[in-house]
């Protein structure tokens, strides 16, 4: 165990060196991915309680009609549609808004907001819905009984129930008929020091509307954005302290 941890630290050190070198090269390039991970972990390591993963969404950069983040999520997690939109799973969706008074419009991605006090976790009878130490809200597919109470409780309509048998699943994102699921911030990628698929896709498309990182690290890009730009939480009246913050709406 300690040998593994030691090995893990060694790997991380190598990784840091590689990332630093890469970052030095990329720092000059415009559109450099806005992420400050470098706190990945091995599978046998627990999540770090000093980290809180979060996301900054710049709605002024989010293009109407663009679904790159949604497509990337569907591919990453193997969310195939069955041509049944009422029951097909959606972990992230594009939400188009129009102000009833002024007619102003917005387009933004909506997904699990990874609340600090998630109603889904409160109501889950078996504790299958839980918050990982680093703030990511997850569903334990082994203890979810499929009661759907979390779906009743989620203020963001962020969860989907799996209504049918699934085939061709992604090994890193196991799913199961009869259980509930939602955006997990691509936890398998984050643990491997990679960006969530949606953030990467948005960056690849040149929009850079999504910034992902550690909210507890004052030096992270996401923290700097949040401390310098006006942002809001969706349904902030509920006091859930969401990890996803929106700018421009």
């Amino acid at each position: 165990m300690s040998e593994n941890q030691h090995k893990g630290r060694g790997e991380r050190r190598t990784f840091f060196a590689q990332v630093s070198a890469g970052a030095a090269l990329l720092a000059l390039a415009p559109g450099f991915r806005l992420i400050d991970l470098a706190v990945g972990k091995n599978d046998d390591e627990p999540a770090r309680p000093d980290v809180r993963w979060g996301m900054f969404v710049d709605t002024t950069r989010c293009a109407e009609g663009c679904t790159d983040c949604v497509d990337a999520c569907n591919t990453e997690h193997g969310l195939q549609g069955f041509d049944r939109p009422q029951t097909d799973a959606q972990w992230i969706r594009k939400l188009d808004l129009e102000d009833d008074q002024t007619g102003q419009t917005w387009s933004l991605p909506m997904m699990c907001q990874h609340c600090e006090s998630p109603p889904c976790v409160d109501v889950c009878p078996t504790g299958a819905s839980f918050v990982r130490d680093d703030g990511i809200v997850l569903v334990d597919k082994h203890t979810c009984i499929g009661c759907r109470y979390c779906m009743m409780a989620c203020p963001y309509k962020a969860r989907s129930f799996i209504h049918e048998d699934l085939t061709d699943q992604r090994p890193h994102s196991p799913r199961g008929k009869g259980t509930v699921e939602s955006c997990n911030f691509c936890v398998h990628r984050v643990d491997g020091n990679r960006l969530p698929a949606c953030v990467e896709a948005c960056s690849d498309a040149g929009h850079n509307a999504l910034v992902f990182g550690d909210l507890n690290d004052a030096e992270s890009t996401v923290s700097k954005r949040l401390s310098t730009m006006q942002t809001s939480q969706v349904r902030d009246d509920l006091g859930l302290n969401t990890a996803v913050r929106y700018h421009g709406v």
Binding site: R84, Q90, L95, E98, T126, I145, C147, A153
Partner: protein, 400 residues
């Protein structure tokens, strides 16, 4: 105590052919319900009317109806042993039996509608004690245990002296149980249709109303089989009491709606239920208000309608109204879109901003009816093998 000692009880005096035929019909309904559940689990819930928008459907309407009615069906036993109304004591046994049977039927529906009913053992062993759902698992199983002990007190004369203490526990327990059931909705902060403390007393009142109505229907039916005199004083008194319970449910409903009209953010759900909700609006006005509230109150309170057939008609209407009420709460409450950004029109591929559609599917209905059949099956078998039914005219024969 002398009165209790004089009271005689009988089993269900039904001839063997009819008994087995009844069980066969109920058994077939249970079988069809189980097949429906298997069909839903085998194919997945997409074959039902439920979706990612309406996540709780018709099975929940049936299940919650039976669960709240179970609590209310114990009313008559409570009146005998908690409130000292001796005239109801002969009916305590059947009251306890109906309560247990309705709860078992309701829970079965709930379990068989889970995405993973095979994980019942997980639900029974892994708890998140912050979840009102988890509390309810204890409240429901605890209710069955308490009601069974309560029944034992009624059957065992030596335990009779404890019956009032157990009765008080059962009474408090069932009030907490229906408070817990109502709070399943009351604690949902996300949805404007719920998120209100009034859901708890509303469900308590609904349990008293629907539970008493179902008690009267079932008890009168089985007493008629036994050729017992059922046009008795207790029925006339229960008639008035049930009328009051119906009025209390209506009162809480009015308070809930008026409060909703006053708060701008709840305006949409109130408008939806009262006028804009299509079938939900129809079910509210015709099912819940007319059939479930106004007509039964007329039938229960009008002095010229104090007859068996009108009392039974009213009780039937109360049960139908209860189904309508729960449908409006459960389906209507989910159909109204959640407002993520108040003051803005929302549009997405995930049905944001639009009223969610729902049509109950045949398997859902069959599962619900199967649960009701389970309750009736248990009642018929128990009545046949144990003396639950009072033999003398109820209340007791005049002491001479």
């Amino acid at each position: 105590m002398m009165e209790a000692a004089r009271q005689r009880y009988r089993t269900l005096e039904i001839d063997a052919g009819k008994y087995w035929l009844t069980l066969a019909v109920l058994g077939a309904a249970i079988g069809v319900g189980l097949l429906a559940a298997y069909y839903m689990e085998h194919h997945g819930h997409w074959v039902t009317g439920m979706s990612n928008q309406i996540v709780w459907g018709m099975p929940h309407v049936f299940a919650i109806l039976l669960i709240v009615a179970a609590s209310g069906a114990l009313n008559v036993a409570s009146m005998g042993s908690v409130f000292g109304e001796a005239r109801y004591k002969p009916l305590s046994r059947i009251s306890g039996l109906i309560a247990v049977a309705l709860l078992v039927g309701g829970l079965l529906i709930l379990v068989l509608d889970l995405g993973r009913p095979d994980r019942l053992i997980v639900a029974m062993t892994t708890y998140n004690f912050k979840s009102i759902f988890a509390w309810n698992i204890f409240l429901y199983t605890g209710f069955v245990v308490i009601a069974v002990v309560y029944l034992w007190m009624f059957f065992e004369p030596r335990m009779g002296r404890f019956s009032s203490r157990v009765g008080i526990l059962a009474f408090v327990w069932r009030i907490v149980l229906t408070t817990g059931t109502g709070s399943i909705f009351g604690f949902l902060v996300a949805r404007n249709a719920y998120d209100a403390a009034i859901m708890a007393p509303l469900f308590v009142a609904m349990s008293l109303s629907v539970g008493t109505a179902l008690f009267m229907l079932i008890t009168c039916a089985v007493l008629r089989v036994n050729n017992e005199d059922i046009a008795a004083e207790w029925l006339l008194r229960l008639r008035r009491l049930n009328g009051i319970f119906v009025a209390v449910v209506l009162y809480f409903t009015v308070v809930q709606i008026v409060a909703g009209m006053y708060v701008a953010e709840h305006g949409e759900i109130v408008r939806f239920i009262l006028s804009d909700g299509g079938s939900i609006t129809g079910i509210f006005w015709i099912g819940q208000i007319l059939i479930g509230s106004v007509l039964p109150m007329i039938l229960f309170f009008h002095p010229r309608l104090a007859e068996m057939r009108w009392i039974m008609t009213a009780a039937m209407l109360v049960v139908i109204g209860g189904v309508a009420h729960l449908y409006v709460i459960i389906i209507g409450g989910q159909a109204v879109p959640m407002e993520l950004f108040p003051g803005k029109t929302e549009l997405s591929s995930f049905y944001d901003g639009v009223v969610a559609g729902y049509s109950p599917s045949v398997p859902e209905l069959l599962l619900g009816l199967g649960g009701i059949a389970v309750s009736l099956f248990l009642i018929v078998v128990a009545l046949r093998v144990l003396p639950f039914l009072p033999a003398a005219p109820v209340p007791r024969k005049s002491p001479r």
